[in-house]
Amino acid sequence: MKAARQSRLSIETPEGVVFSFELATPVSRALAWAIDAAAIVTACSVVGQVCAAANLFSRDVATAVTTVLYFVISVVYGILLEWRWRGQTIGKRILGLRVLDIHGMRLQLSQIVLRNLLRFVDTLPALYLVGGIACLFSRNAQRLGDLAANTIVARERKPAEPDLDEIAPAKYNSLLAYPHLAARLRSLVTPEAAAIAIQAVTLRDGYDPIARIELFAELAAHFRSLVEFPEQALEGVTDEQYVRSVLRVIYTG
């Protein structure tokens, strides 16, 4: 196990195309596990109550059934749900996580069984200490079970288009009068810069007025440095309006 933990796992297909998965952090995995642990305890408790209420068995058999069911539920819970829900348990579903094959292939039953059985070591000596340390130090944030089963836990992507009506209301956009420059701007703005601009516009009301002016001035200067529009396109346009216009160019063309 080497350090240099990465936040994404990239896979290159034989066609030369690269796609990537965002790896789940140990914190989100711990939260998912806490939810699963609560689900297991609840399921066991319900089974115990049903056994007791039904009064079908003698005290000896009822204790035996509860002992076996507790063990079976705690072991089989993860295996069954990850198998039926393609890599998800209740906790992972709520937290938006999914177990995936490290090579992007279909998750096999043997992989699910192995990663779940190796929990016995990952949970040692208590509270997933071994698994947590392995997660922190392994390259792809894998606990020992994941390493053995060749699996990763990734954050599910829910791509959502930004709400343009919220961040850049549809008005006359002087930049669109120059389609060749607008196209160039679209191709030069990095995703990071676009994300910062969206965040700035969305949270504008929360900023201190001076800080807001400075922030939009800086963003506008950055976008202006990428493509130079003619003077008449920028006449009477404030820095904030310019940033909004840039966003509309980027996302709607």
Partner: protein, 326 residues
Amino acid sequence: MIIDLPRFVAAERTYWDELALLLARLETEPEARLSLPEIQRLHYLYERSSADLARLDTFSTEPNLRAFLESLVARAYTEIHETRAPVKLRWKSVVLAFPRAFRRHQGAFRLSLGVTLLGCAFGWFALRMDPHVKTVLMPFPGLNSSPAERVAKEEGAKTDRLRGEKASFSAELMTHNIHVTVLTLAFGMTWGVGTLILLFYNGVILGAVAADYIGAGFGTFLTAWLLPHGSIEIPAILLGGQGGFILAGALIGWGGRTPRTERLRAIGPDLFAIIAGAAALLVWAGIVEAFVSQYHQPVLPYSLKIAFGACELAALTAFLAWAGRE
């Protein structure tokens, strides 16, 4: 380079939607078989979406579109490039997978057996050399009394001391032994060191108990006590050890150039079969230990118990050695 992104999206969206629909069908019905034209269409749509994704790399301002296409291509990649057949849980193949997996890794089993026997020898000699180490080697109250006292108590019992507790005792034994066996396998991830220690310690206890009872002249009692469940329980733990050493072997990867992930991928199904088989054996062993092993002469003749244990061992050996041979 894509100059007109909206036009590009409008032109390609139909293909992406068609691919998404096809993938959703394959994901919800893993058993579904596509016809040849459908497979060709799936491949075409995958290659087209991959090319779109590659084109989008030159246009980095669309993180959401890129994320959408990445997700689509990743799902299609899984369906196109997966060569392992989906698991079909048919009882016959599941049952036979266990002995087949066992036979494929006999070296690991021999190592597991050897380490346990080494532990037995250590436990035996340690107790014979210094009987005072008994409490250190076997820190269990049930094993600390003298063999003579224990035999007298068990054989002289007038009542069933497990009356009303047999089922719960059996359940505790099953879950505990399965836990220990899984742990023995899982400790393979410590490059086999944990597996080795657990097996050796198990052997030490066995050797010490044997030295204690045989040394006191109660060999028959011991055999009749341990054999009915031990003939299944001990091999099951050895199978856990076998799994641990298979795992350790794949991690270490002596003498091969195969990458670690490939080595681990190759052993996954065998480990699954071995641990499932061992767990099934331990359910049986738990029942036998609670309902048969704890009863002694005159309730159950020793010869009968020993014969029963020997039959179980022979049946298990035959099953592991011959079942599913082709």
